[in-house]
Structure formats: structure tokens, C-alpha cells
């Protein structure tokens, strides 16, 4: 932890706890039927979002995935507008038109969660191209999973990013599963970062349960991109505690509970709290306060969402086109 300020350490911890709390409460609300549709929850992977996002400015962009709540929470997303979106309310980030899989905030550079696996990388290189074109030193962090690393879109984007030396960081959250298919059954390699060499960019394998390891590796890659030295591929080995969808999903056994318990032994929040306690930076009481504050914020957000109106039926046909000199809309 040497060289990392106390403020940053506590900030990473706080972001992780907010994600965990947000997701656990969302899972309950989905399973009780209060939130419509499907939620892909980020519990277990918090160290990645928190350790990366603490480096970013509002003008730095991210592209996210179907498992995207954690990214937006860590980027500074408004929990009320996020929950309102999950509930399909007019006050949500997307006015109830996107839901969990499309929650976004362009003011925070969040270019969308995405319902299509592997959709992020091509969009991310576009944002990175734009940063370079406009002469800023902003960077784009592209989050995707082990499953998406098999999509052609990733490979096209990686090639172009390296070719044009774009300020983009490919952040592979390898949680061991593409939906329900274990990594060893969907690709022949163990370290996905090996693929980086094929595109002429550095590839680094990092413990994704260790927020400090995430922080340090991401810091280097982001600084490299800001300097104009091009993209980096970061593979974070992490784990999804909950099912692909929801908490216990459809109850089909595709992994043993013992495996989940084993990963929980290295829970990223517990790990961080133990380290902070060791350094005398956060007492058990102090940690409890962070959890309570997060829960209070999440409860307030849920109350806001539940009290918010649904969109008017007239909103159905709005926001399809931007009004310009020529009229939009079909028949």
C-alpha cells in the first residue's frame, strides 16, 4: 500500500461497498418480482470497477457490459436515477427506456451498459479515437468479460487500437464463465491477456480480487494511454458470486457451491478491510459506518424509484431521432 494515499484507499473501499450494497438489494428486488426483466449482478467483481474507476475523470469514457451496474456506481453514477431505471420509471437515467442492460450516463462518460456481448470494444475505440482527434488526454476504459474475448468485435477493435495507438484500455473481467459455460469449455487458453501480444500491445494478468493490484495495474495502463503510448490489455481474474442472471438464477447446477465459497474466502471487500485495519486506516467500526451509509443511500434510492412515476404512454415514440432541420421518424 506504499505510495497510495489514505484518501484513495478509503475511496476504493467505499466504492466497492456501494456496488456490493446496490447489487445485493437489487437482487432481492428482482427475485421478489419488484424489478422487471433480468439483472446481471456484479457481486464478487467489485475490486475491478473500483480499482480502475478511482483513476478516471468524468471526461474519461467507459464502455460497460450487461453486468454494468458496478461500473456506473464506481464511475459516480446517481443511485436514485439508476434504481429508477431498473424499476422502469420516468425519472431513471434512460427515462425507463433502457433498463438494467442499457443504464448509462453520458455526462459521466458512461457509454452504456450493453445487451450484446462484445459490443463495447468497437465503441470504445471510437471514443478513444475521438479523444485523440479532439486533442484531449482523456482515455477510454473498455470493460468486457472472458466470454466477449471470443467475439470478433474484440479482435477487430484490439487490432485497430494498437494500429492507431489509441488511448484505450481493454479491461477483461475474467470471472471464469461465459454465461453458464466455464472458461476452459469456451476457449483453449488460460490467460486471455496472451491475446494482447497478437495485436502488439502489452497484456497483463492481475488478481482481480485484490483492489490494490487492480489500482496499480490500471494506473500504469491509464497513464500510458494518457501519454499517447497506446492501449494495454488488463486481465483481471475474478469471480461472479451470483448466477449469470439474478442471484440463484434458474437453479440449474453448473458449478459447485464449494467453488463459490472458496472464492468468497478471498472476498475483495474483506481483503481490503483486513489490509486497511492492519495499517490502522480503518477500524471495524469505521468499516461498519461505510456499509451503513451505503445501505442508507441505496434504500433512499429505492424509495425514490418506487415513488417515481412510470413513463407516460406518449413517451413511447419520443427520443428515437434527434430533431434537426429535416424531420425524423418513420411510418
Amino acid at each position: 500500500m506504499t505510495g497510495i494515499s489514505t484518501d484513495v484507499l478509503l475511496d476504493i473501499h467505499r466504492r466497492m461497498v456501494r456496488i456490493r450494497t446496490f447489487e445485493e438489494e437489487a437482487g432481492k428486488l428482482m427475485e421478489s418480482g419488484k424489478i422487471p426483466g433480468a439483472l446481471h449482478l456484479y457481486v464478487g467483481e467489485e475490486a475491478v470497477a473500483a480499482g480502475v474507476m478511482v483513476h478516471l475523470r468524468d471526461t474519461d469514457q467507459i464502455t460497460s457490459t450487461h453486468r454494468g451496474h458496478g461500473h456506473l456506481v464506481a464511475k459516480g453514477g446517481d443511485l436514485k436515477r439508476m434504481y429508477a431505471e431498473l424499476f422502469g420509471r420516468a425519472t431513471g437515467y434512460c427515462k425507463g427506456k433502457g433498463g438494467s442492460m442499457h443504464v448509462s450516463d453520458l455526462d459521466l462518460g458512461m457509454l452504456g451498459a450493453n445487451g450484446i456481448v462484445g459490443a463495447g470494444p468497437p465503441i470504445a475505440i471510437g471514443a478513444a479515437f475521438s479523444n485523440k482527434y479532439r486533442g484531449t488526454d482523456d482515455v477510454t476504459c473498455c470493460f468486457f468479460g472472458d466470454g466477449a474475448s471470443n467475439e470478433g468485435t474484440f479482435h477487430e477493435a484490439a487490432n485497430m487500437a494498437a494500429l492507431y495507438k489509441l488511448p484505450v484500455i481493454f479491461i477483461c473481467e475474467n470471472n471464469g464463465f461465459g454465461e453458464f459455460t466455464r472458461q476452459e469449455r469456451h476457449q483453449a487458453i488460460h490467460d486471455i491477456a496472451d491475446r494482447a501480444a497478437g495485436y502488439g500491445m502489452p497484456g497483463v494478468v492481475v488478481d482481480g480480487m485484490d483492489a490494490l493490484a487492480v489500482y496499480e495495474s490500471a494506473g500504469e495502463a491509464i497513464a500510458r494511454a494518457r501519454r499517447g503510448d497506446g492501449p494495454t490489455f488488463l486481465e483481471y481474474k475474478t469471480y461472479r458470486y451470483f448466477d449469470h442472471v439474478g442471484v440463484r438464477g434458474m437453479g440449474v447446477i453448473y458449478r459447485e457451491d464449494s467453488e463459490v465459497l472458496e472464492w468468497r474466502q478471498r472476498d475483495p471487500i474483506n481483503l481490503m478491510e483486513a489490509r486497511l485495519a492492519e495499517q490502522g486506516l480503518l477500524s471495524p467500526e469505521g468499516a461498519a459506518e461505510v456499509h451503513e451509509a451505503a445501505l442508507a443511500d441505496v434504500r433512499e434510492a429505492i424509495a425514490f424509484a418506487e415513488a417515481s412515476p412510470f413513463p407516460e404512454p406518449s413517451a413511447l415514440m419520443e427520443d428515437i431521432y434527434t430533431l434537426t432541420a429535416s424531420a425524423g421518424g418513420g411510418a
Binding site: P122, I125, R134, A157, I320, Y321, T322, A327
Partner: protein, 335 residues
Amino acid sequence: MTTIEAPASREVPYVSAVAEAFAQLMREDPAIFIAGEDVALYGSVFGVTRGLLNEFGPERVIDTPIAESGIMGLGLGAAATGLRPIIDIMFMDFMGVCMDEVVNQIAKMKYMFGGKAKIPLTIHTMAGAGTSMAAQHSQSLEAWFCHVPGLKVVMPSGPYEAKGLMVAAVRDDNPVIVVNTKTILGMRAHVPEELYEIPLGKAHVVRPGTNFTILATGRMVGESVRAAELLASDGLDVEVIDPRTLQPFDTETVVASVKKTHRALVAHEAVRFGGIGAEFAAQIQEEAFDHLDAPVGRVGAPFTPVPFSPPLEKEYLPNADKIAAEVRRILGRQA
């Protein structure tokens, strides 16, 4: 053509009209860049970007790898963050490689984000059969994109339309797909030197007439005018309408024409089944059923992949004779 047309003193081929639009737009707005396969050094395999690299440099005229998903995503990410990209997809057939970016990402980002995103992105591509390029380099797939809310689609019929619609497309704050036709790139017509816009969503009466309406797109506009000339010898006074923009479609102009002529036919080069003409015919029948003296006819390509061999391709392609024959068939059935 329209009121802004000066005496036909400056005849320009279609391909140069497109290139001129690109250059003038890029001079006007530094946020515009163009990216695609061989658009820079080679000037595009069709010549539509020739000269741009010299004038604007490699920062704004960008040769890409052959990676349509990557190219299209580059356009979207750049458009969503303040630039105004022009993305060139060499052959329209290659749109299949990047359909997720076009259909699931570009078309929907604004709506999914509750209206917040602005995607001023132009996709330029080349359709059309008639050059023995066979089944994967000859298709007219415009109907696919007209079916997707969030996209606009234009299909120029000549040099004047090619420039004016390109200007409108690039200046529009929405994703617009410009479908040019490779077999009319040499067609010459008057094109004003200055930048001008042809408004999106407005059809154009190419040839006024009183007793039959032909609604034709792209290359079929010229063929329909020739068909109208053939039919004039039968004593028919045919009106030819070019919708210019397929999405949004100008129902009003077309319906007004049909109310006057009482008979209509739609013509496009694309395969007839499920083509955009089916939608146009349905709209005419919905809006002007009581004014119709005959079913709305349709001319398009037969339901087959585009063949390679020249005689087969000739058999495949709609043309003025086929359009005129269909008009006569409709009138014969009427009695």
C-alpha cells in the same frame, strides 16, 4: 428538378458529385472525418474519396483494416463523443459483417439512453448489380435498414441528388445511411458548385404526368423515366416520383400523385419480395384505396441471389422495358 436549379451549365459525373460533397463538408466542419477500407491512399475503389487525403491529411481521412465491425464501432464511439464521422462500407453486401453495430448499437443508442445521445453519423455504401460482381458484391439491401427505428436511409438517383442528399445526411444529427449505386457513378448531370441540401424525407416529382404514377428508387428512377417515354407512345402520361429518402418516407407527395393518376407502380432494383416497394405499395393502398383503379404494381429483381454470368445478370435486373411491360399489364387487367 427543383427551384434552385440553375441553367444546366455544370455537368458533373455522379462520382465527382459525391467526392465534392465530402470535400466541401470537411472544409466547413472540422469535426467531420472519413474512415473506411482504402478511402485514403487509394481514394476508394469507386473513386468517391479521391483527393481527400491530400487536402485533409491522414488524421481526417483514414484507411482502416478490413474490419467492418471495428470501423462501424469507431464511427459510433466518435459520434457519441462529439465528432461527425463518415463511415464508408465499400460494398453494401459487407453491411452484413457489421449489422450488430448498425442495428443494435447505432440505431438504438439514443432511445435506449432516454434521448440523451446524439449520433451524427453518416454511413456511405454502394449497392447495385450489373457489373458481374456476383452475389456478394451486387445487392441492394436498403429495405433491411428502413425497417430499423433510429436509422434514416437515402438512395440518390443521380449526381444532383447524390451531392444534395449527402450534404443533408452529414449535417443531420442522426445516423443516416447513404446508399449509392455503383452502376450510375458515371452518369452526368447538372450539379451546383456550392453546398446545397436536399431535405431528407421529401420526395421529388421527376416527371409530371396525369394518368399513371411510377414510384422508383435509385437507378430505377432513370429507368422509369425511360419507361414513361416508351409509354408516351401508347398515349399514357406517366408521372415519375423519386422518394429520395426511403426512411422517413414522404407518403404525402406520393398519395397526392396517386389521387390524381389513380394507378401506381413501385420499382426498385432490390429483390421484389419484402423489398421497400412492398411497404410503399401498402401505404398507397392504405391512404388512397378509394382513388385506385387498379392494384398497385411492383417491379423488382426476382427472388434469387445476383448471378455472375452477364446474360443471367441481364435477366435478373429490372429495367425500363420491364417497367413499361408491367404498366401495360396493369392497365390490361383493368379494362
